[in-house]
Structures are given as C-alpha cells and as structure tokens.
Amino acid sequence: MSNITDIAARIKDFIEREFPQPGAELTLSTNLLEEWFIDSLGIVNTTLFLESAFGIEVRRADINAANFRSIETLARYVAERLGGGG
C-alpha cells in the first residue's frame, strides 16, 4: 500500500514529465493552477493518470480547484480514495 509520500512522488514525477517547465522548481505545495501551467487537457490527463496509476476512481465531482491545487492536495485525495493510506 502506497503511503502519502510515495503517492506525492509519483504525481510529481508525472507532472514534471507531462508539463515540463525548465528552470522552475516544482514542490509539493506549488499552486498547480496559478504557478504551474495546467490547462483543461492537463486536468483530464492528470485525472486519467491518477485512475490508472493508483487504481482508484476519481469521482467526477472531485475534479475541482480544491483537489487540483497542489501535488499535496492531489496526494491526500488519492490516499483518501485508497482508504486512508498514509
């Protein structure tokens, strides 16, 4: 069972690969929507990544600004969906 640190590391890895921003530093608390360019397609792809990488179902209503704010919030969400891991 992944703990929240592992989850966050995998999400960070995905975001860096998916939305590379040379020269900028991505941290767990970086605001993905304001400081890291994520567009509508990016949110769709991140959602599908979370579903396939962690085997969870992202409830469609959970695709919102609160959960997508940072890697931290995304990781917490995944852990919650996995059943309290972390």
Binding site: E18, S40, I43, A65
Partner: protein
C-alpha cells in the same frame, strides 16, 4: 426586409421585454434592460464622438457589459472589433495599428470608458430621455445599409501581422436566418456559449439569442478547466443548444462525462473550428441518441460557416467525418494548382467559397485581400468573388459530401508523391482507442511524424501496423508517437509548431 443585424434586438425586446436574455454567473439581464443599456451606450458614443463606420475595439472580458458594448457600438453606427484582452501587448499593438483611426471601449466600474471619456451607465440612464436617445440613434441608423461592416475579427497571418476580417450586416443576417431554419431554433432554446467573442463561433450564440429571444448562458472559463463543473452547469440550467470546438467535446468524452451526468437536455450539439474525431462523434451519438449532431465549417473570412452536415443513419458507416454540403447562399468550388475548377469527384483541391457571407476583405489591407479573394475562374461576364480558404478537400463520389483533408500548407511532397498530412491523421483516427491524431513533417529530416492520444491514455502498440491497412507505404509516418496530451494554441487548437519543436528537442 431586414437591413441591419441590430434589428433582431429591436424586434425581440418588444416581444420579450421581461425575458432573461443573458446569464453570466450570478448576474443576468432581460431583453428590456439589455436594450436600455445598449441604447444609452449607443447614444453616448454617437453624441460624444460623432463617428460612423469607424472600428471600435471591444477590449473587455466575455461578460454582459461586453455584449452591451457590441450592441451599443452597432447602434452608434460603428463597427465593433472584439479582441482578446489577454493577447500579448505586441500583438495587440499590431492589431490596433492595422485598424488605423479607431476608438477603444473598455469597461469600468459602473459603465465604460472610451478615449479618456467616461460613460457612467446609471447616471446616463437617469439623465437621458430614453425616447430621445432612441430617436437620435434611429436617425443615425437610417443612413446605414446592409453591406456596411458589422464587425472586424482578427485572424493570424502567416507573415506575423494579424489580418482584420471585415464582416457585413448582410452576411450575419443571411447566416443567422439560415441557422434558425436549419436547426429549428425557437425562443425556448437555452444556449451555452463557449466561444470567446473574438472567435467568430460566438456570432451564432449572440445573434441567435437576439433573433429568437433565446436565453444565452456565458459559460465561465473555469468550467472549461474543470469539465465536470461544465457538465453539472449544463444539466442544472437545462442547456439545450451548444456550439463548441471539438476539443472540448473530446475532453468531455475522455472523462466519460456523458455517462456520469444526465446531459439529455442537450438537444442540439453543433461543433466547428477543427476536425471532429470519428470516435468522439460516435460516443456522442451513443450517449445522446436523440440529439441533433452537426458539424460546421467556415474560416473567419466567411460569415461563420459555409458548409454543414447533420448526422443521421450514415454515421455508423462513415470512415471519416465529412464537412457536408454548402449552407444556403454559399457556393463551394474546388480549384486546382492552376486555378482551374475541379469537377471530378474524389479529387483533392483547394476549397473556395463564394456568396453573400464572404467578407469584403481584410481591413486596411488591399494587397492581402486581392491575394485571397479572387475573381471566380471561368466567369468573365460579371464580378464574382470567391475566397481561397487554403484548406484542401474533395467531393466524395460515394456520398457527394465535401470532405477536408488538411491545410494547403500541410501538404508535403515525398518521393515525388503529394501527401496530405490530414489524410494520414484520418487513417489513424479510424483505429480503435485513438481519440485524436496529428501528423507533422520534419522538413530537415524529411520524416513524417504522427502523434496520437488514446481513450485509455495508454500507448496503442499496434497503431502503426494497423494504419498500414489504410495508407500506402509512402504515406506511412516514420515514427508514431503516443502523447498523453496535445499542446494547444490560445484558440484551443493543436499547436503544430510545438509538435515540430518537440521532435527538435528530442533530437538535440
């Protein structure tokens, strides 16, 4: 007989004064109030600046005041120019320079500002006699004719200077009347508006609302960021009519939102602006079995659209998504490289458009106007102008529909063969699981590269092998690359330039 597009509002506000015209988040406005504000602004512009047929730039975000600006400018006898407020300053400057003498209208607190003067809506409404304002405005409009420009919308030019496409009142009236009839639009329609006002798809949204008294919902940009909120909004507000770019529908499909949300309120789904992938179209058919699904096509230089198709039973057997047949009063001809008309079916040539919807040309740019708007070949008896779209297509011998294969500038030559990158994309789009594909040509290496995305986000290992069923060897891409997402331009289309540099960065 209708002369000016603004007459739609003049008639509708009398029929439905208390009906909601526009909803923007928590704000809304009735037709009566929309009229009152527009006439005040029109009167103020007319009496303050004494200009006619002058471009007035609407530099404001998509909102109710932006619609008031668009209407007020028309009422003042001038031409509105919606521009992207987020456009880089250098690009904005190029557009304003191209306009020559012009005014810029911006929103401010209680009203508008223009050339240093302020128009406070509430003060103006209190101090101006509405009847007098209507008389002054009507007297000004008396002088206008249906061929007067209604709006100018900028489109990118290959040389880097945007071109200001001029569109007439007559073009918009012809288009809107055709849309109303073809799609049976009544006042009951609830329209969800996606397109920004500087993109001409929004002309359909705005003028259907005005012509029929429909309610127009300005969909917020964050709905398009978090698409489930868009689905929820559509369901909650019973939106019945949308005219979206295919990319949005592709993303909604990938999240399977049509299963997660009851979107059966969507009775009419129209799309235009780029190619609609066949798999997305079939998904929509499956999930909205009773909805009208229609593809439309038209560059900015034609009043919104000139070709359309409403999908029926044939959808099941299609191998490619057709553009369809000409809209009313649009003539489509295909011209080959020598400028001769092509009449044989299944022969790829440049799509050229004639008719009342054709723009009179690029504002302040006769040279580029002459290049793109030409005298119809083999027609010497009278002046008849067609616009060369730069898009390549053919008329299928099988179903007599017009199909597009790509841009003229996406045409390449390889081993002596002429190749349309669009044709390669069409072949990959036929494969199961593939949501979208894009072929680019690496000129330096003389290689075709094909990028694609899939429904399940995983690479489709046999994509290249399967595509051989549809493509001759010389058209096969050298590399087939799976992407999780396509880079997009500001207009939401695939950024081909970025794809080309993607390969550069990989090689270096």
């Amino acid at each position: 007989m209708q002369r000016l597009a603004i007459e739609y509002l003049i008639n509708t506000r009398k029929r439905f004064p208390d009906k909601t015209a526009i909803v923007d988040g928590k704000e809304s406005i009735t037709f009566g109030e929309l009229w009152r504000r527009s006439i005040c602004l029109g009167y103020w512009l007319r009496t303050s600046f004494n200009a006619t047929n002058m471009p007035v730039v609407v530099s404001m975000p998509k909102s109710i005041p932006a619609v008031v600006a668009i209407l007020g400018i028309q009422l003042s006898g001038n031409i509105y120019v919606p521009i992207d407020v987020d456009s880089p300053p250098a690009r904005k400057k190029k557009m304003l320079d191209k306009l020559g003498p012009h005014l810029v209208l911006e929103s401010s607190g209680e009203g508008f500002t223009c050339a240093g003067s302020e128009c406070n809506m509430e003060e103006l409404a209190a101090s101006v006699d509405l009847e007098l304002a209507e008389e002054v405005v009507a007297a000004g409009l008396e002088q206008r004719i249906n061929l007067d420009p209604l709006y100018i919308i900028f489109t990118s030019g290959t040389t880097g200077t945007p071109k200001g496409v001029t569109i007439t009142n007559a073009g918009v009236i012809n288009y809107i009347d055709w849309v109303v009839e073809t799609y049976d639009v009544t006042g009951e329609e609830i329209i969800g508006s996606q397109a920004p006002f500087f993109f001409d798809n929004s002309v359909l949204d705005i003028y259907l609302m005005l012509a029929r008294g429909c309610t127009l919902h300005l969909l917020r940009t964050d709905h398009f960021l978090f698409l489930p909120t868009l689905a929820e909004y559509i369901r909650e507000n019973m939106v019945s009519f949308i005219f979206f770019v295919p990319s949005v529908l592709v993303s909604m499909t990938r999240l399977d939102l049509f299963s997660h949300y009851d979107l059966s309120c969507l009775a009419k789904v129209l799309f235009a602006g780029e190619a609609m992938p066949l798999n997305t179209l079939r998904y929509l058919r499956k999930h909205l079995p009773r909805a009208l699904l229609s593809n439309l096509y038209g560059p900015t230089e034609i009043t919104v659209d000139c070709i359309y198709w409403i999908f029926g039973e044939e959808l099941e057997h299609l191998e490619n998504v057709p553009l369809g047949i000409p809209c009313r009063n649009a003539e489509i001809i295909l011209l080959d490289e020598n400028g001769d008309v092509v009449t044989e079916p299944d022969t790829v040539a440049e799509i050229c458009v004639g008719g009342i919807g054709v723009s009179p040309g690029y504002w302040n740019d006769l040279e580029r106007t002459r290049e793109a708007f030409i005298q119809r070949p083999a027609q010497g008896a009278y002046r008849s102008i067609v616009y060369k779209t730069g898009d390549l297509g053919y008329i299928s011998g099988k179903d007599n529909l017009i199909y597009m294969v790509g841009r003229k500038d996406h045409q390449i030559k390889r081993q002596g063969y002429r190749i349309e990158l669009g044709e390669i994309e069409a072949a990959f789009n036929l494969l199961e699981e593939i949501t979208q594909s894009c072929a680019v040509y690496d000129d330096a290496r003389k290689e075709i590269l094909l990028f694609y995305t899939t429904f399940n986000r995983k690479p489709k290992e046999d994509a290249g092998r399967k595509a051989r069923d549809y493509l001759p060897a010389y058209m096969m891409p050298r590399r087939v690359i799976h992407l999780e997402r396509f880079p997009l331009t500001a207009n939401g289309k695939i950024d081909r330039g970025a794809l080309r540099s993607y390969t550069d960065s990989e090689h270096s």
